[in-house]
Symmetry: C2
Subunit: 358 residues, 2 copies
């Protein structure tokens, strides 16, 4: 098993597979980077390797060239890459005219804010999705090899065609990033007081708007076609909503604007339907959890005390969110539990002296 | 102090002010609703009242009529309302030709998923923003009266003109709702596998997309002009992004598309700038917290044990988020702390045997 490119992803793969008992060799155009990865325990460095599988873990723009070189250098090896876009890479390989039966594109969905081997972790892929993207000409045995490799890192393997992969990440990752940035951009020139009215809703919608512009320009450019398709559909919906609002704003009392109101209602209802598709934790079907809101003092240990007592009641918390009050020294802990547990938990916490917030 | 309309907001105001020692009288067109509010302790019912201040807590469409009636019925009383849109209400009052020096619009920002007096809580407004919207002709003494009332419920009072209020809630509440719904709508027809790639980012962006279409049609219609203005600006930004992506997708290797890439980079950077405007907890300026990620088994009590130990280390947790792994029986707790606390906390937790996730 040979890793070309010992940045965050490559070095983490080396660490994970070394931990799983594999013999990993490392290669990088930077002598410093590959030495660091070796010293961290990601694998060994050898001038003479004959790998069964090669992982190209380089930036998307140099990935096709490195995959071509690997396929030619080791005529028996299976070769995969880890770029977050798949059609562009495959198109380049086809254009290069090499035999690609032994190539299987893949995408471990485990980004980080930091980069480089120094940030690498053996557990980076644990519980994360790792998408395999075999193309039409891929040898099924090659796909099996890469699948075993991904599972050995602790990742949950799923298989999509390159086109389906790119469309999926456009919808579940790239378009949401753009939407979050667009909403956040509208806050830039608000008054201090106006932006002070921001509640949990806009905080959630814009959390990922703090992302790095350079990185995201690369990501969006690399998946430009698929992202454009999702955003064009969103843009058409948005134009319809703006037109409906403009019709209503000319006279809010106009009784004969049912069409405009229907556009608004349908937009929110379509959002309901899409939201319901998002799987729950552990990949389970989405569950409608009940939320119990508890007032918590803003002191070290208070949330811990609350959760300890929830644990003592034998209730499994499905999710937790802290909602901080505006200008007051306490917050509200929103505890998501299975609906059947909400009533008993509320009662138990009240008995224990907690204030349940409506 | 007299409350007209004993639904969720009216009854909660009654409960909060009764608890604060005020003599509250209640009125509602529904005999059932007003009796329930009285029985819950929100105030008393009297045919003959001479209030100093009247709160109209009715749906937006009937609010202007009830405010006019209250101003005429009690010529000395200060009258306020609690509708979530303010310009439309004021325009109706001006159109009605009544003297409105004693009217001060207001908006307590404390919604709930449930409605009706039965869901009312004395603490509904604690720590929430309550916006006062005096108009140009409002008697400053009347504004003081409503301000005292709002503060007595535990709310944090802020003052904005009706136009500024409507523009603010359009940007921090109504436009984010539309954006979340638009993103979520794109997930509706994805394959099971594609939607299975949804990570924490899209979950956060679309959380509020589960909102009620009927309620939001009313809210958006009532603030149509201000919302249209924000969404039109977003729509223009979005069209620019789609055009840039389409230029890039014709040939992703085109070296001479710096303009298109600049559009993408600027959009994300504008989002960064807007996101940085959102105040931190307690209305404090936004702080850049450090995040410590800890692997937590999915068992009752495990998160509690973690937070107990964080408390024992004397570290104040600023925020907490649970990120559930895909297909695995554990999650990652993301603990936000002041940057100076992150290093010591990481070390202390590792010493205590916790696995720190990268």
């Amino acid at each position: 098993m040979h890793v070309i490119g010992t940045g965050l992803i490559g070095a983490s793969i080396g660490l994970a597979l070394t931990a799983a008992g594999a013999d990993v060799t490392l290669e990088d155009q930077s002598e410093t980077s590959v030495s660091l990865a070796r010293d961290l325990g990601a694998g060994r460095i050898s001038a003479d390797v004959a790998p069964g599988v090669v992982v190209v873990a380089a930036p998307p723009d140099v990935t096709p060239r490195l995959v071509v070189a690997a396929l030619q250098r080791w005529p028996e090896a299976v070769v995969t890459d880890v770029a977050s876009v798949k059609q562009v890479i495959l198109a380049d390989l086809v254009r290069a005219g090499v035999a690609i039966e032994r190539y299987v594109g893949s995408h471990p969905m485990a980004g980080r804010e930091r980069s480089g081997a120094i940030s690498a972790r053996a557990d980076l892929f644990e519980g994360r999705a790792w998408v395999l993207c075999p193309h039409e000409g891929t040898d099924p045995a090659a796909t099996q090899v890469v699948s075993r490799l991904a599972r050995a890192t602790g990742a949950a393997v799923t298989t999509l065609s390159p086109a389906d992969h790119d469309a999926a990440v456009a919808a579940v990752s790239h378009a949401p990033q753009v939407a979050a940035s667009l909403v956040a951009a509208r806050l830039e020139h608000l008054s201090e007081q106006a932006v002070g009215l921001a509640g949990q809703g806009v905080r959630d919608v814009t959390r990922i708007a703090a992302s790095d512009p350079g990185l995201w320009t690369q990501i969006l450019s690399g998946n430009a076609g698929a992202v454009a398709q999702v955003l064009r559909a969103m843009s058409q919906d948005l134009v319809g909503i703006v037109e409906a609002l403009e019709a209503l704003s000319t006279d809010p009392h106009v009784a004969d604007a049912p069409g405009a109101r229907a556009v608004l209602a349908r937009s929110i209802a379509d959002g309901n339907a899409g939201h319901a598709r998002i799987p729950g934790k552990h990949g389970a079907p989405p569950a409608a959890y009940a939320v119990v809101r508890v007032v918590v003092d803003d002191r070290p240990g208070e949330v811990a005390r609350l959760l300890t007592e929830i644990g003592e009641e034998g209730v499994n918390m499905e999710d937790l969110r802290l909602d901080h009050g505006l200008g007051l020294p306490f917050g509200v802990a929103e505890i998501s539990v299975l609906p059947a547990a909400a009533g008993p938990l509320t009662e138990a916490l009240q008995t224990r002296g907690w204030q349940i917030h409506s």
